[in-house]
Symmetry: C2
């Protein structure tokens, strides 16, 4: 069994899910805007995958927020 | 030839190198503090590798700065 991803990964997933729901977007809609695979977005939101900085930046851009701002919600 | 990593990766590498030099640390010293492989740190600093959020957070913690703050220098 893989070790649970560090706290930051789980926290980042929750923050992305929160912002997505603020927009009333489905995972499909956000994944498309962020040019990501829908199932990978689901893994990120559940904290099961640790995104790269670049993927995190794509999500922030799609959500209309600066990556640094999104990260502050994880700290 | 691999496509050059996105701008964020190169920018993040420069910022890490700058903060490391502010501390007058070698790459070995920072890699050890961040529990990272020295050559991988070199790749990150050169912008040849795109770190995960977790690796970026380890570097920020080792440098004594919040990850969100480090990211602001990349935006």
């Amino acid at each position: 069994m893989n070790a649970a991803p560090p706290l930051l990964g789980r926290q980042f997933g929750k923050v992305v899910r929160h912002w997505r729901r603020q927009h009333r977007w489905s995972q499909e809609a956000l994944a498309e805007r962020a040019d990501l695979n829908r199932s990978y977005l689901g893994e990120i939101e559940r904290g099961d995958a640790m995104p790269s900085l670049d993927t995190a930046a794509k999500l922030a851009r799609a959500l209309g927020v600066k990556l640094s701002e999104l990260i502050t919600f994880c700290e």
